[in-house]
Subunit: 196 residues, 2 copies
């Protein structure tokens, strides 16, 4: 939760308040009035920063999407064997999800009622497709098992990763980002069964 | 969607309509008026069957919980090596989730605003705990890897399974229940990597 005072509000701090309210109340259930109360500034002050509630949504989900698509541009995601690139992308997805937890949580809850939401869903599908392509390439190399259909395997691995938003709390008491990322990579690639 | 007519309504068919409406509108966002319209019967006819909206919720989530807890009473979940019992339970969780898709979907979306919701969350935690205990026993036997903390591994496997409600559609065109159950068991226990 931001502790920014009225005179220190920036588009960035306003966004972090908005994302928190969207996640608590749902985007549809949030009014500019709710945002104004949560931020402790007037509606006209909010309109000084953004044109609409939907602009805040677009900025918030863009931040999550930029984080995710940014992974695909990183060197280890672009070069080398497909299976290693895939493993790198899975690890980085967990890291980005935790680093941008409220933004990714919002992205995963988008439902498609507005143009911005439909655009976000479309971008999510593009990202899923890019990762599925990587998995397909790894299967073609013979590094990833061929007995589970690629689209289904992608969905299940995404399901495992995305479920982290339901329980991960960055309160310093629980596990760290690296522990979670390691566990996801271990389970996704090698499974629960002990390998001797 | 049920096609039951007014004179054929039973608590069972009313429940299936209610669960669909709860899943579409959210439990909090559903009124008896919404249920009455969706069922095509008067509110007083609904009150002939149930005392309240909350009773419908309780019956619906009970059906999902009974399905899940029932697994633990099945012979292969009770006898044999812990790792095999765990694998059986994981497979059956996917089967029950798909067989009772709308009911489990509702259970997974419960938020805790009412007594019934808090009771359902408590029962879910008990189920998670039972499965975590099984995983702990399998790790103690040396059959399940020891390098991923049991609670974290349980959460990730549950995340994979529960994510199925987000995309599985029993429309006959997509994959079958067995294909999904096989994939989950393969990925959860052996991972994506091809074993040579």
């Amino acid at each position: 939760m931001t502790t920014a005072r009225r005179d220190t509000y920036t588009p960035e701090t306003l966004l972090s308040v908005a994302v928190q309210v969207f996640n608590e109340r749902g985007y549809d259930g949030t009014s500019m009035e709710h945002l104004s109360k949560a931020a402790g500034i007037s509606k006209s002050s909010i309109y000084h920063h953004v044109a609409s509630k939907e602009e805040l949504l677009r900025r918030a989900v863009s931040r999550a999407l930029d984080g995710l698509f940014g992974i695909l541009d990183e060197e280890p995601a672009r070069t080398g064997r497909a299976a290693e690139r895939l493993e790198y992308v899975v690890r980085r997805m967990v890291e980005v999800l935790i680093a941008e937890l409220p933004y990714v949580t919002l992205l995963l809850r988008v439902r498609g009622n507005t143009g911005t939401e439909r655009w976000a869903l479309q971008r999510r599908r593009e990202f899923d497709h890019r990762v599925a392509e990587l998995m397909k390439a790894a299967a073609a190399d013979g590094d990833v098992r061929g007995d589970v259909e690629v689209r289904l395997a992608t969905r299940l691995v995404f399901g495992m990763i995305n479920s982290i938003v339901e329980w991960y709390r960055p309160d310093g008491r629980g596990m760290g980002r690296q522990e979670v990322a390691d566990a996801v990579v271990q389970l996704a690639f090698a499974g629960l069964r002990r390998q001797d």
